[in-house]
Symmetry: C2
Subunit: 492 residues, 2 copies
C-alpha cells in the first residue's frame, strides 16, 4: 500500500479526499453523489452507532422504523419543511420497468405504471412520522413518545464530498412528542448535550453548544440547537443538531391531545440527528500527513502486532508471544489484531496501519525475543519506545486512555487558540483570511446583516453560544446595538 498522500499544507481538501479513499473508508459509487462505505469505514460507523444507541436508550428512547417514502401530500403539509427540502429531493414516479421495444435487452419505465401520487424519498422523516403519531396520540397518557430511527436519507445535493455531503447518507433521527412546551425544550437540550458528550468522549472532538440563527435553522423548527466543531483548516463543521419544533408539525398534521385538565391542545415536538457526516469530522480533526489518526474509543482495531522475522521458526516463536499479548489485551478490554500475513513485508504493514490510524503498533523481532521486549509505536505522536514484554499489555491499556485524552486536548488547544474576538469589520476579514477559525463578534440580530457578511466573506453565524457571557456591544458590521457575541466561521 503506497501512500503518496497530498499534505494538508499543500491542499487540505485534496488531502481529505485522498485520505478517505486510501485509508479504505469510502469511495464514490456509480450513482451520482452516493458513496460506498467500505468495511473499514463502516466498522468505525458501527462503533459510533453502538455508543450513540446506548446513550439514546439510557435517556429513555426506543428504536422504531418508518417508511422510506413520503407521499407528496404529506411532504407538503408542513410548509416551511417542504420548502426547505423540495429543491433537493428524489421523486419516485413509477413502479415498474418494461422491455424497451426500441432497444432489445434494455429496459424502460413502463408509462402505464405511473403512480397516482408521487413519492418523495425521505430527506428527513418529520412528515411521515407525524402523520403516524396522529393515530397514536389521544391523551396526555400517550405522551411522551420517545422514538429514534436509524435510517438512510436522500438529499439531492449538487456538490458532494465523501461523508461530508452526499446525496444518500446514513443517520439517526429522533422524533419525540410531548405534552408541554417546557418538556419538549428540555428534550431538545438534553439530546444536544448527549451529542456533545459523545463528540467529546468518543470522537475526542471539542464542540461548542449553541443555537442557530433564524436563517440557519432547520426548516420547520422553532429553535435549532447544535454542536459546532473546528477542523484543522480553520473551517467549522456542524456535527449534530437538535430541534425544538414547537407545535408546527402537530398543527400541520392535526395532532391534538387531551391534556390533564381535559382540554384539547396541539402536541409539542422535537427532532434530532447525527449522520455519517461525523466520519468527516472525525477524519479532519485528528488525521495528519501520514494518514488517519483514530481515537482509541472508536478505532475498530486498537492495537496491531506486527512480527518481524527472517524464517518460519522465528515467526512461530513470535506468534506464540503475540498471541499471549493479544489474549492479555483482550482480557483488559483492548481489541488487538495480530497481522501475520505472509504476503506483506513489515514495512508495508507499518505503512498500512499508519495510514489507517491504528492507535498503537507493537513490533516484535528476534532481538526483542532475546531481550524479552517489544517496540511500541504511538500513531498520534509517532513516538516509539522499547518496553518489557511482561508489561506491554498493561502499558498498552494505559496508552488507550492517554491517547484518547491527548487527542482531545490537542484538538481543544487548537480550537481554543482559534476563537478570536474581533471588534471591527476590517479585523473580521483579516482574521478570517489569515488566522481562520471561529470569530467571536457582535451582531445586530438581523438576517440582513448576517446575509451581507456572508456575501462579503463567506462566513456564516455558526451559532449563538449557550454558555457565552451576555456582553452587550455594537454590531461588527452595522455598528447597531448587539445583545451578545456570536460565532462566525467559514463552514463545511
Amino acid at each position: 500500500m503506497s501512500k503518496n498522500l497530498t499534505s494538508r499544507a499543500e491542499d487540505y481538501s485534496k488531502w481529505y479526499n485522498e485520505l478517505v479513499v486510501k485509508a479504505d473508508l469510502a469511495e464514490n459509487s456509480a450513482v451520482r453523489g452516493c458513496m460506498v462505505i467500505k468495511p473499514y469505514g463502516y466498522a468505525i460507523w458501527e462503533k459510533m452507532q453502538a455508543e450513540l444507541d446506548k446513550m439514546f436508550k439510557e435517556t429513555g428512547h426506543q428504536n422504531a422504523y418508518f417508511p422510506l417514502f413520503v407521499p407528496k401530500s404529506l411532504f407538503e403539509a408542513e410548509e416551511k419543511n417542504a420548502e426547505g427540502f423540495a429543491k433537493e429531493c428524489a421523486v419516485v414516479t413509477h413502479y415498474r420497468l418494461q422491455n424497451d421495444p426500441d432497444n432489445p435487452g434494455k429496459l424502460r419505465v413502463d408509462p402505464e405504471a405511473k403512480l397516482e401520487e408521487e413519492l418523495v424519498v425521505r430527506p428527513t422523516s418529520e412528515a411521515i412520522i407525524w402523520s403516524t403519531y396522529k393515530n397514536w396520540i389521544q391523551s396526555y397518557r400517550d405522551l411522551p413518545i420517545l422514538i429514534n430511527q436509524w435510517a438512510n436519507v436522500v438529499r439531492w445535493e449538487m456538490r458532494t464530498r465523501l461523508f461530508l455531503r452526499t446525496a444518500e447518507f446514513l443517520w439517526q433521527e429522533g422524533h419525540t412528542a410531548h405534552a408541554t412546551k417546557a418538556e419538549a425544550i428540555a428534550e431538545a437540550e438534553q439530546m444536544n448535550n448527549v451529542y456533545a458528550e459523545f463528540a467529546e468522549s468518543f470522537m475526542a472532538i471539542p464542540v461548542i453548544q449553541g443555537v442557530k440563527t433564524e436563517s440557519e435553522r432547520f426548516a420547520g423548527a422553532v429553535e435549532t440547537y447544535c454542536i459546532e466543531a473546528l477542523m484543522q483548516d480553520g473551517k467549522a463543521l456542524q456535527a449534530g443538531t437538535s430541534h425544538f419544533l414547537g407545535q408546527n408539525f402537530a398543527k400541520a398534521f392535526d395532532v391534538k391531545f387531551t391534556n390533564n385538565e381535559g382540554k384539547l391542545d396541539y402536541v409539542w415536538a422535537t427532532s434530532w440527528g447525527v449522520s455519517t457526516r461525523l466520519m468527516g469530522a472525525l477524519i479532519m480533526t485528528h488525521s495528519d500527513d501520514n494518514g488517519l489518526v483514530l481515537p482509541p474509543n472508536l478505532a475498530p482495531i486498537q492495537v496491531v502486532i506486527v512480527p518481524i522475522y527472517k524464517n518460519d521458526e522465528q515467526l512461530e516463536t513470535i506468534s506464540e508471544v503475540a498471541n499471549t499479548i493479544k489474549n492479555e489485551l483482550k482480557a483488559l478490554g483492548v481489541s488487538c489484531k495480530f497481522d501475520n500475513r505472509t504476503t506483506h513485508r513489515p514495512g508495508a504493514k507499518f505503512a498500512q496501519h499508519e495510514l489507517q490510524g491504528v492507535p498503537l503498533r507493537i513490533a516484535i523481532g528476534p532481538k526483542d525475543l532475546e531481550n524479552k521486549t517489544v517496540e511500541l509505536a504511538r500513531r498520534d505522536t509517532l513516538t516509539k519506545e522499547i518496553v518489557d514484554l511482561n508489561k506491554v499489555a498493561t502499558i498498552a491499556k494505559g496508552l488507550m486512555t492517554e491517547i484518547q485524552e491527548s487527542l482531545f486536548k490537542k484538538a481543544l488547544d487548537f480550537r481554543n487558540t482559534h476563537i478570536t474576538e474581533v471588534n471591527n469589520f476590517e479585523e473580521f476579514k483579516k482574521v478570517l483570511e489569515t488566522k481562520t477559525g471561529f470569530i467571536s463578534a457582535h451582531w445586530d440580530g438581523t438576517s440582513e446583516t448576517e446575509q451581507k457578511i456572508k456575501e462579503l466573506t463567506k462566513a456564516t453565524i455558526r451559532c449563538i453560544p449557550l454558555n457565552g457571557e451576555k456582553e452587550t456591544g455594537s454590531c461588527v458590521f452595522t455598528g447597531n446595538p448587539s445583545s451578545g457575541r456570536v460565532l462566525f466561521a467559514k463552514a463545511y
Copy 2:
C-alpha cells in the same frame, strides 16, 4: 388493553393481522404497502440482528454499505436478475419538486429536473455491488471478499401483509466473491447452515434445508439454498435463502481476476439474505389465541414482575422485593421489567403482557409477602405455580432454557407430524386440503409438471431436501421416473 383477538381456528389470516397490530409490533402506514415497525416489534428485530450479525462476523464477514439507488443501465446488466425484478420496482425519475402554479401551497414534480438516467430503488443489491467489486478485484490476492449489508429494499408487491410481504422491508444481504467455484458453493452452503442454526436456536423454529427448483430459484442464481419452516396453519414459509450465483454477475459486470496460475477468469459469487419476514415466521410459529408467544432468546423483556396491592404501603414493600428479584435476574443474564405503572390494574397488565408474549410473569401480592412466595406464570403453557421467593431468580433462569426448548420441541413435533409421504395425486390433493403441511412426493424433475401441479392445487415445490434419502420412484403426477422425493406445500 382489550384483546378481542380472532381465534386461529376462526380465521388464521385475520388472527395474524390482528395480532401484529394489537401486540404493537407493526402497522400499515400512509404509504401503500409500506409498514411502520413499532418499538416493541423493532426491539425483537434488533435482537435478531444482533445475533445474526455476531454469526456473520464469526464466519469472517464484515459489514459495509452500498447505494440505495441502482442506475437503470446497471440494473438491466444481468438479464435474468433484471427480468425478475423489473415488474415490481420503484423508479426515481426526478430530483426536485417545485411550487405548483395551479395549486397554491401545493408542490409538483419539476419537469426540468428529470434525471438523464432513471434510478431504481434497490430491490436487491447484486447489480450495484458487482459494479463496485469490479474495481476492487484484480488478482486472487483480492479474494475472497466477504461482505454483508444491513439495509432497506423495495419491491413493489401488489398484495402486501405486515412483515410477510411489504413494499419496503428491512433485511441483510451478504455478497461474496471467490476465486473458485468450490469455495463459492461452500460459502453458500455455510450461510444456509448459519440461517438454519439461527432459526432453530434463537427463533425456536425447526427448518428443512434444501435447494429450490429452477422455477423457484432467485433471479440470476445457479443454485438457491433455502430454509423452509411450517406455520401452524399448515402453510410453508421460506425463512432464508442463500444463492450460489456462479459467474453470472461477474460476466454481466465483467469482473475478472488473475488466478494463482496467472490466468484470467471470471469471479465466483454468492448472495444470501434474511429479512423482517422472519418476524412473520416467529409470530405464526409460536403464538396462540391469547396473543404473541416469544422464545426467551428473542424476547425484549424475558420476565415481567406485576405487583398486586391495595395501598401505597403494600406497593412500597412489593417494590423492594421486586427490585431485589430484578437485580438477581440481571446478574443471571435475564432481562426483567418491573411493571409498576399506577395507571393500570393488575388484570390489564396481565392481559397486555400475555398479548405481547413475555415468556414469564411474576406476580407478587400481600399474601406472597407473608408467605415469602411469588406466583410464576409461563406464557407458553399458561401454567402457574407458587415458588419460594428466595429461589425465584434461579427458577426463572432455568425456565428461560426450558421454555426455549419446549417451544422448539412443540414446533418440531407439529412440523414432523405434518410431513406426509404420498404416492398418488388423489392422495396428494386430499392431504393438501385436509391435513395440510408438507407433502413428500416423487416428481419427474420438469418445470411443466411443477407448473401444472401448482395450477391444480396451489402447492409449489418448497425444496428438494438436502438430507433426503435418494429413493427413486415415479412422479406423483405424470408417473414418469423420479430421482427422489421433494417437498410440496402451499406457501406464504
